[in-house]
Subunit: 273 residues, 2 copies
């Protein structure tokens, strides 16, 4: 799926909203909480209630690995019930040396056949090449994370005056094209997002950290969509907890998730047209 | 397992050799290659043939995720058949923001109940804290990787003249103690290992990259064991392909793996006493 195809799909759906399926058993309605396959059944209900509206789903492996094999089965079932016309991201932040990274590329781009995978760039070029070689898939490189720990290493100043996260994005951007590379840029630092949009006008940014992590959808859209009418770099805006847990009642959560999705879509709409 | 307990176990076993179960279907003897559960059956044969000799096993998640659910079942089966008296590492290089990192800590330290997990430090403190909070387990932080891509980011010079990987190790070492933090330090750059041993005399280093990646066991031992008689920082020396694929014949591979393990143990022995 090229950048052009991504834009076509976003404009057809009328949104770039992504639902993050960070599903936590303890937060589910009681009957789901008790059931072995509760995670998968809950996700299926969320997907059925929102798939006609949203652009993408993002599945974070951490939440499924936590439950061991039962969780991994729930992850597989979740991936398989996401409709073809939704962009499908696995948020795994995988990284390893070349010959192991090849196996991660095989896992997510072939075996689980998702559209995009988040990867950590810090092992350097040979650790990214197996992903980048799959030009039919999106390698979503961690650019600037949304968390407080961003300051510890990513924001360090280098000898030449650059910050590490900018150098990571600059260098990795030369290893492929904006037709198969996008960056994770947290929504909690609009100043950073603004600067990165200026430096990388052609790349899509996957933006987590909205809602419960404190990022403002409006601020993010204002700076991040600059130049979007040129259909170059766009945003994929991820929201998770505020949608999944909009209502904790068995007979209400799916409807409440849909309502929250519609609210988010309305907030984004002015910036997309 | 404290550092003291680690040393006791190493001295009792008489080695710090770790077998990396980077099991690749295409490299297995023909009957294993064709069989759905071939990976698990092969690993079991390797473990049965070597567990009385080696100190540790390391399971890299990439090789199992590549095969999807069948691979993950093989991983679970492999983890469960490693004897209690062997130190068990999952090499996942996991990392995420705090609330997701918590789930990875739960996955590997509780659900799969391994002794140590490799993690990537670049998301900073809140991304490491859930691992570091488990002082009964080993958080094995990526210090300096063994691959060529090490030069791309890890080796960058910072404004203050330090290199990034040294700053990562310096800062993360203040977030816990050498009784539950160790570092991955590649075996392919003895100069780097030498310098890091000088800077971090108290920490265990997990050393990959020996054998097929070009690291010399002897050189690594010479610099890395400095001060080992004080029983502070030690090494866990990982070897994978040269053991797993020492012989490709059905009736020979397990015996050949044991022979190769014995050869490695002999090479290490002079440095351990």
């Amino acid at each position: 799926m090229s950048r052009q195809a991504l834009w076509d799909s976003i404009l057809q759906k009328g949104t770039c909203l992504c639902v993050g399926l960070d599903t936590v058993r303890d937060l589910l309605p009681p009957s789901f909480r008790k059931e072995k396959h509760g995670l998968a059944r809950f996700n299926r209900a969320i997907i059925e209630s929102t798939a006609d509206l949203v652009f993408a789903y993002k599945v974070n492996t951490a939440f499924y690995e936590a439950e061991g094999m039962a969780g991994l089965e729930a992850m597989e079932e979740t991936l398989s019930c996401i409709p073809q016309d939704c962009f499908l991201i696995v948020d795994g932040k995988r990284s390893d040396v070349g010959h192991s990274a090849e196996k991660y590329a095989e896992a997510y781009f072939s075996t689980f056949a998702v559209d995009g995978l988040t990867v950590s760039p810090f092992l350097g070029r040979d650790g990214l090449e197996p992903f980048l070689a799959r030009k039919d898939k999106w390698t979503i490189i961690l650019g600037a994370s949304s968390n407080p720990g961003f300051e510890d290493f990513q924001a360090l100043k280098l000898e030449d005056g650059n910050t590490l996260f900018e150098e990571v994005m600059r260098k990795t951007s030369t290893w492929g094209s904006p037709d198969h590379i996008m960056y994770v840029v947290g929504g909690t630092r609009p100043g950073v997002l603004d600067r990165l949009r200026g430096l990388f006008p052609d790349h899509f940014f996957l933006v987590p950290g909205l809602g419960e992590q404190g990022g403002s959808l409006e601020e993010v859209c204002q700076v991040g969509f600059r130049g979007s009418l040129s259909r170059k770099g766009g945003l994929i805006l991820n929201s998770s907890r505020s949608i999944l847990y909009a209502d904790s009642r068995e007979d209400q959560f799916a409807r409440a998730a849909r309502k929250q999705v519609l609210r988010n879509i309305e907030e984004i709409k002015p910036f997309l047209t």
